[in-house]
Symmetry: C2
Subunit: 443 residues, 2 copies
């Protein structure tokens, strides 16, 4: 239940710029901790020039890099946001691989950002030069290979890495239903609780659920959507998840709510789904599938969806194909790979599906993250006691970085509704999604 902590990796870390070799994934601080700083001495011109070149390569974000000796290197004249680099080793590591080492150094306390962390990261995201046009290599990779290793054994370890660090931890800062995906703020001023409830209801409306229908959910988290569908829409649900802790919690909830007959929580990979259902839904799983698995996922949906069934996939995405930040994939979400829409279509187009509706809820994820961030900071003391300071810094960075990514447009949130090609039992319009009321006036 406890993640490897920073102290483990301290023993393996050294100050060399060369790669950090560590066996176990999940150690947040890949470099020597703040307590072991080398002797403070003057930075030299060559070092400041290296930083200057790094800023150039990053698109000259308006940041002010403040060195351990008070010297400064600014990415733009008007730069106001300050990033403090506390030792020479941190500087060298940063210029060697800023995308990876920024995170590791921040977690180790060797880089500090005195102001708003999300704002600083947003500034970096917005400045980054974007390589949007794929080269020949990218096209060949896209056409013939794929990305991310998420074959079943690896998938289980990837999921375990993030989701099995303790329900108690997530209870500290998620909403009461433990919904760990983008909420839907019908009203931007809504509470997190209200917005997560509205999201569950919004997904049900988009699926046009009718009482008595059967639903399969791939990647059900702590079960909030499955339970909501059963309770408020009278359907029966089979819900799959690889995380033992989440499944155990979801079953307890089903028992407590008297929904065990209607909702079957199954601890298994989504590739184990068997049977035929009126609806297929997956919220926040596609990001973990990897583009190489999209054809297989589409074929699975083809096998399990009724002739006039409806489907919805809710996933973090991209405006164009590009990889994840390496710090995130190494320390937070191994195997994560949010797709561009062109990539996502590999689920639908080769498998006989028709895309009916795509909505981009990017700003709703930014709002969700603001709420999570606020709650996380309120619980930071408890989290430190449960884990350690490095863990808190890692999650602080992860939440702020995600917030920055959604604010800056580096990440998107797509809800895709689909049905079988040629199926005419499809909604005439989207007006009913926004009708007042519903079962309990949620939206």
């Amino acid at each position: 239940m406890v993640m490897p902590t920073g102290s483990q990796s301290l023993r393996q870390a050294d100050d060399a710029v060369a790669g950090v070799h560590r066996g176990a994934a999940g150690s947040f601080a890949g470099v020597r901790g703040a307590g072991q700083r080398p002797l403070v001495n003057k930075s030299c011109l060559a070092e400041r020039r290296l930083l200057g070149r790094m800023l150039e390569a990053l698109g000259n974000p308006p940041l002010r890099l403040v060195l351990w000796d008070g010297e400064e290197v600014a990415g733009a004249l008007a730069a106001t946001v300050r990033v403090r680099i506390l030792d020479r080793g941190a500087l060298l590591r940063l210029v060697a691989d800023p995308e990876l080492h920024f995170g590791e150094l921040y977690v180790a306390g060797r880089i500090e950002i005195p102001g708003d962390l999300a704002e600083a990261i947003e500034i970096i995201y917005r400045a980054l030069p974007q390589q949007r046009l794929p080269g020949i290599r990218e096209k060949l990779v896209a056409a013939f290979v794929g990305a991310a290793d998420n074959a079943p054994p690896k998938a289980a370890s990837n999921i375990h890495h993030h989701y099995d660090i303790g329900n108690d931890f997530y209870k500290l800062w998620l909403d009461e239903r433990l919904v760990y995906t983008c909420a839907y703020y019908a009203d931007p001023a809504a509470s997190l609780e209200a917005a997560q409830l509205a999201k569950l209801e919004y997904v049900c409306r988009k699926l046009r659920l009718r009482p008595g229908e059967t639903v399969v959910e791939a990647g059900c988290g702590w079960g909030a959507l499955a339970l909501h569908m059963a309770r408020h829409h009278g359907v029966t649900v089979k819900a799959y998840n690889l995380s033992p802790q989440q499944i155990a919690y979801a079953r307890e909830r089903a028992d407590a709510e008297g929904l065990r007959q209607q909702v079957d929580f199954i601890e298994a990979d989504y590739r184990e789904i068997r049977g035929r259902f009126d609806a297929f839904v997956s919220v926040g799983m596609l990001e973990h599938v990897g583009t190489a698995g999209y054809g297989e996922l589409g074929a699975l949906i083809d096998r399990c969806l009724a002739a006039d069934g409806h489907g919805l996939i809710h996933s973090i995405g991209r405006d164009y194909p590009h990889g994840m930040n390496p710090w995130i994939t190494r320390h937070i979400f191994p195997g994560a790979c949010p797709p561009a829409l062109s990539q996502m279509m590999a689920v639908f187009e080769p498998n006989g599906f028709s895309v009916l509706d795509i909505e981009n809820l990017r700003l709703h994820y930014a709002r969700t993250l603001e709420h999570w961030q606020e709650r996380f900071e309120r619980a930071a003391g408890t989290v430190t006691a449960m884990f350690d300071e490095a863990f808190v810094r890692a999650w602080r960075l992860y939440l702020a970085g995600s917030l920055a990514a959604f604010r800056s447009g580096d990440m998107q949130l797509f809800q895709v509704c689909f049905a079988r090609s040629g199926c005419n039992r499809i909604p005439w319009s989207r007006r009913d999604l926004y009708a007042a009321g519903g079962d309990d006036g949620i939206l």
Copy 2:
């Protein structure tokens, strides 16, 4: 103003199965007319077997092929829809290339369908085996080449072919505003007039137009949308179109409505667009662009859209990439190429755009075509007098075939809303699109 008629091609046609060589595009009947049937004689077993094999290759649609001598070949036991093949030459031509020659033979009156034409074609569409997974060749073509020749000179001739056959002709069966794209039926029972007006308003709402903004429209038809935006939303519009007849009509309308100061109709290719605008809109043009031109179109939008501008592209599309029916591209819409969403993303993803909203209005296009078909049939006598019988049959087949394509899911209608990547002046939700009222309660 008059299209080449069937009689021209009769001279060039012969009964051989080998290719029909004709210079001018636009001759509907590529084969000998009904009046010149060869002597009636008995069909032989080999001929009926050829037809049987053709039906097999077409996925055994439940059709009953009735030959000139009363013999029948059925694609399925329960087949009820009858297709009459009136002579041996028609049979041979049909089995040689059913996709191309069905249309030509129907127009020549050598194939007859006694019942509902659209229903018969829908049966064919629904049976067709679908080659959805691209092979290596298709992937390479998709990655490195493109499709359809729509460089400017060819684009002009392609557009002239379809849109300059006479405003009087289109006035016979379009709505009063001459909107020749998919309507939006807020109420499925709405009239064509109401539904086209609702579509114009729906597009404006999706663009979130505000008074005083500037809009550029690529491919403006007879100007209905540009005029509606100016009149009802207080914007100024530059609207581009390659068709001289449409532009002339649109300018007359602008004069008559006193909107000439607000709407500038420009007879030019969309690639001539210059300037910077708060909104980019294109309704029913992308189908004519060809996938090879998508990158260039996206780059153009990038040049002409303001930093916080909004865009909307409305286009016929596909559930997966595949070509147009060859009869349609030869005789009705040269250069037409409706894209799958994966292909359409080539406009947005490499050019710094973020897709906000995609809606599939397939069933609305089917309803629109039902209205057009009904009005066209009512005007068939007038159309015959303006052109000839072959022209009427060609357009009857085109409208019925399109209706069948939208009913069966062979074609889709996508409305794609987008903004620049990272632009945060984007709608919080879609709820306002469905708010009652509006300027004149249109939706």
